[in-house]
Symmetry: C2
Subunit: 199 residues, 2 copies
């Protein structure tokens, strides 16, 4: 007889609650939104609670903060617990709706400290989010950290735009990179799977 | 002050437990593995507990069943709760490890009732799974149901193989398609996001 748990529980680190309490309810400026996300990515490295990634869902116009997620792959034993999946899922749960792109609601923006990996690229599309702001999309993340980000389609920006998702690139690029260098210098785990042959 | 829950809870439908109890501990034949997965996809439609998708993680050699997942997007208010993400996350939790491709463990296989969407394609890569068996990879799923499966890279099979993941295609294709036709004929929700403009 085959048995399994019927529940999956993903959790944020303990330090997040007090960090959230220091935030205002809204961050109108896009640079400040990214700076906040990068700060969460940095603390996630400093506290050794996950990979060097964070993401936030905001109301695009007002900057109201809906959710903040950080990478939780190792601690949650779940390779889908990337920052974007955490932030989007927390936002959907908080707003009590699976579609963040519905007509009767504000435009929501996902702010991430780099271009999403192939999985989170898809998660972004399915979430209904209408705007994606990233710190960069170049090879720096992979070359500095060693993470494999997967094979995005060549026309990845056009594919987002054809689905009504705008892309805002190069927001605080160098500040984001500092955290990747910190992760590398700390010798932290690069948890690409497959027998550890890329770690 | 900004607050959010620090937990995300994903759950399988109530009917799953009794269905799992009817299964043997191992299913050696690949066709029978797929038939089991397709049966879970069909019950998910009949019970109206999610989209027409299911996935299972098996030990490839013995057929030992590790986990079965079904699509839970609507009920869990989570657009990342696709069948593959559920099955892979349940397997990682059950095996108490985030890497299903580690050297000191058996080869694990993900069996799904169609080619993964762009998000689950990435989730498959990151999980460490070593084998992917699918019922089909053609346009039938999208054309019958109306679901957008996203822009996979053209060389998606080669990209998997270059990461040590074999692809076994066309397992019980026509049996899988019957469930998509059932979903269409039942008039169930096609929950691609973005203001319902594709539903």
């Amino acid at each position: 007889m085959m048995t399994q748990s019927q529940h999956i529980n993903l959790s944020m680190p303990d330090w997040v609650q007090s960090e959230l309490e220091r935030l205002p309810s809204a961050i109108p400026d896009i640079n400040e939104r990214m700076r906040t996300v990068i700060r969460f990515s940095r603390i996630n490295v400093e506290q050794n609670t996950g990979g060097p990634f964070a993401a936030g869902v905001f109301e695009k116009k007002s900057g109201k903060i809906i959710s903040i997620g950080v990478n939780r792959v190792i601690d949650n034993l779940c390779t889908s617990a990337h920052a974007e999946v955490m932030a989007l899922s927390l936002a959907q749960q908080k707003l009590d709706r699976w579609d963040l792109g519905g007509q009767d609601q504000p435009v929501y923006q996902l702010v991430v400290n780099w271009r999403p990996c192939i999985m989170c690229y898809g998660a972004t599309i399915w979430s209904g989010i209408r705007s994606l702001a990233i710190a960069g999309a170049g090879p720096e993340l992979e070359s500095i950290t060693g993470f494999d980000e997967g094979p995005l389609p060549k026309q990845w920006r056009e594919e987002l735009e054809s689905r009504g998702i705008e892309v805002i690139d190069n927001v605080l690029t160098s500040e984001a990179i500092v955290v990747y260098e910190m992760y590398r210098d700390a010798g932290r785990l690069v948890y690409n799977s497959r027998q550890g042959d890329r770690s």
